[in-house]
């Protein structure tokens, strides 16, 4: 029987994948064809969605941008045999865009049925967990430390050191909290992994639990991701029923249970302490640090907080060994980064590569330039709190330290491309506006500074006492950077200052200031 793979990832759904699947199902039935449909995650070549694949003797053959109305004609032309068609892209694994990547965390996404535990195991799943169950807590933490894995949420803190702190803390209860509040515009890797390979995240969290002695985990998923919430909940139920989760993890003496907590539309809840407050059901107000959550975290207990990408890298680290993961990367950024190409880009999607690839290679090479066909003016890396960089930064190596040196930050690895029609004063104003909208309100620089920032930018653009207001804006940015309690207010000046520095003309600033 021929297998037709059709994505169920919400990006694919947004361009009609469900309708395509329904039409395939209808015609397979009507024509009595020897074929069945398997719904998968997405390969991450999002400009080709809906991208369907047919299992053939030569491998999985892809047909891109399929629409429901064209399914009948596709079947007529022998798509089930992998026959030629205008939309045929060949063997998907050999597609240049994918073949050039180093898929580690995303190795299974788009390939397996996300909710089939047997499919997961057939593709290397649970190997890492089984190895971890044979190791002591110290040995697991050592493996993670040696791998060089750093937090993928943005801060880049070494995961092994965080785990060691929680392991060393004594308490009657410890927690693992997964931050899946992926609120940065231009990022969707967490969502795609949760929708396309949820067991990887579950496995990573169980390993973290065993490593530090935590028996309970929470996954905090933003409410804007209803499909990810649904898939994670189903996957947790399946893992519970199969004994992967529960009082005896894979038949061992270890216990671990998991629960999804949904967000309710608040960007600041992606900040780790605000997230803890929100999991506890309170307002998402940030907590001052210290104490660090590793010692005083959820419900006041020692807590590991890691991002989806960090925890999902863990099974591979354990399965293949720390050295294999450590061997990939650039300087102090080890392993792979799941880059996300977004915005005005011809070929947007997921590019997983070892750290160190150049920005230009991602934007022009993988991305193929802008969707509009116009020149790239700027890119914003790392979400709404990330800096804008221009094409003169194309040679920058994409890694934690090198991006900081270039005046930017990696954040969660999202890259938003803008063409030359963008007005950077408008973007700088939006950065302040967004901060004003989403500030939790706990500290003054963020809560009030952002509102004053909007007003000051407006005055600069209107040409009102420009030099005085520029000085005021700089002063304001300094106060926000140094005086805010968390990254929300602390990093908002990054996009504002970079926009102003690189594109003063957009603010109406000419050589001679008034």
């Amino acid at each position: 029987m021929t297998t037709v793979f059709i994505p169920r990832d919400s990006a694919a759904l947004s361009v009609g994948a469900d309708l395509v699947a329904e039409e395939f199902a209808r015609l397979i039935r009507e024509r009595n064809l020897d074929a069945h449909i398997v719904r998968t995650g997405s390969r991450g070549m999002l400009w080709l969605e809906p991208l369907i694949e047919i299992d053939t003797a030569d491998g999985r053959i892809g047909y891109s941008n399929v629409d429901a109305a064209g399914v009948s004609e596709l079947l007529d032309s022998g798509v089930l045999m992998g026959n030629a068609h205008a939309s045929r892209i060949g063997v998907v694994d050999e597609h240049e865009w994918l073949a050039k990547q180093e898929r580690v965390t995303f190795a299974r996404v788009g390939i397996i049925d996300p909710l089939s535990l047997s499919d997961y195991e057939a593709h290397g799943g649970l190997v890492g967990l089984r190895k971890a169950l044979e190791l002591t807590s110290d040995e697991i933490v050592e493996q993670v430390t040696e791998s060089g894995l750093r937090g993928r949420g943005g801060a880049g803190f070494p995961a092994g050191i965080k785990w060691k702190t929680v392991l060393g803390a004594s308490a009657d209860q410890k927690y693992i909290c997964c931050n899946a509040d992926e609120g940065d515009s231009g990022t969707f890797a967490d969502r795609m992994l949760m929708e396309g390979d949820p067991f990887t995240l579950i496995e990573g969290m169980i390993i973290a639990g065993i490593a530090v002695g935590a028996t309970k985990g929470y996954i905090y998923i933003r409410s804007e991701y209803p499909h990810a919430i649904e898939t994670m909940n189903e996957a947790i139920d399946i893992a519970m029923a199969a004994g992967v989760l529960g009082s005896s993890v894979c038949g061992s003496s270890k216990a671990f249970t998991l629960e999804v907590r949904a967000g309710a539309g608040s960007y600041v809840c992606g900040e780790e302490t605000a997230m803890l407050e929100s999991i506890e059901g309170k307002r998402g107000m940030i907590r001052p640090k210290p104490p660090i959550p590793a010692l005083v975290g959820l419900y006041g207990k020692p807590t590991v907080i890691n991002n989806v990408m960090t925890l999902s890298a863990v099974p591979m680290v354990l399965a293949n060994g720390a050295a294999a993961y450590q061997a990939l990367g650039h300087e102090r950024s080890r392993g792979t980064q799941v880059f996300q190409l977004a915005g005005n880009i011809a070929q947007g999607g997921i590019v997983e590569l070892a750290f160190g690839v150049s920005l230009g290679e991602l934007v022009d090479g993988f991305g193929g330039g802008t969707l509009s066909g116009r020149p790239v003016k700027t890119v914003q890396i790392g979400g709404p709190l990330g800096a804008y960089l221009g094409p003169d930064a194309w040679n920058v190596a994409m890694a934690y330290e090198s991006l900081v040196q270039a005046g930017g930050m990696l954040g969660h690895g999202g890259i938003v491309v803008f063409d030359d029609t963008v007005n950077m004063a408008q973007q700088a104003r939006f950065a302040m506006e967004f901060c004003a909208e989403e500030s939790c309100g706990k500290c003054t620089p963020c809560r009030i500074g952002s509102i004053r920032g909007v007003e000051t930018i407006d005055r600069i653009v209107a040409g009102v006492e420009q030099s005085k207001n520029l000085e005021l804006l700089e002063d304001l940015c300094e106060t926000m950077t140094d005086g805010s309690l968390c990254a929300m207010g602390g990093l908002t000046p990054l996009p504002v200052r970079s926009a102003l520095k690189l594109y003063p003309a957009d603010f109406g600033i000419t050589g001679g200031q008034s």
């Binding site: 759904l13 515009s185 969707f188 960007y267 059901g281 309170k282 996300q340 915005g343 999202g414 803008f418």
Partner: protein, 152 residues
Amino acid sequence: MTKYSHDMLIGELTRLSDSKPGIMQALQRTQELLGFVPDTAIDQVADVCNVSRAEVYGVLTFYSDFRREAPADVVVKVCVAESCQSVGSRQVVKELHDHGYDVHSGNQKDGIACEQTFCLGNCALAPAAMINGKPLGRASATSILAAAKAAK
């Protein structure tokens, strides 16, 4: 409070699976059941969670998802964050406005409301929208309103 009596709501809330029912989770459950959080539910959530009304009110007003009035039949989320801006979401918002839908106020018209949101995680197929929970990529004002009418 048409569909659920106070007792039924309290029953539902106390049945929350977690041993530590947070205020937010109780409010989410209320909204799931009723479509919004009526003022009369504040007392009940306070009772179930054993907190003051002020605390419930604080959580209710912090999160943008919570509604205090019945929603439109069709709720459209329109992304207005950077990725979508880069491919014309400002124009989409303007055109929706011309059709009588203001994404800032989220006003209802003909059973449809359009509300702004910051990122739906569909940034490579922007502009992004979501119509009653169904994602729509490469969205325009025309495709959004057509999908919204079809969802009624």
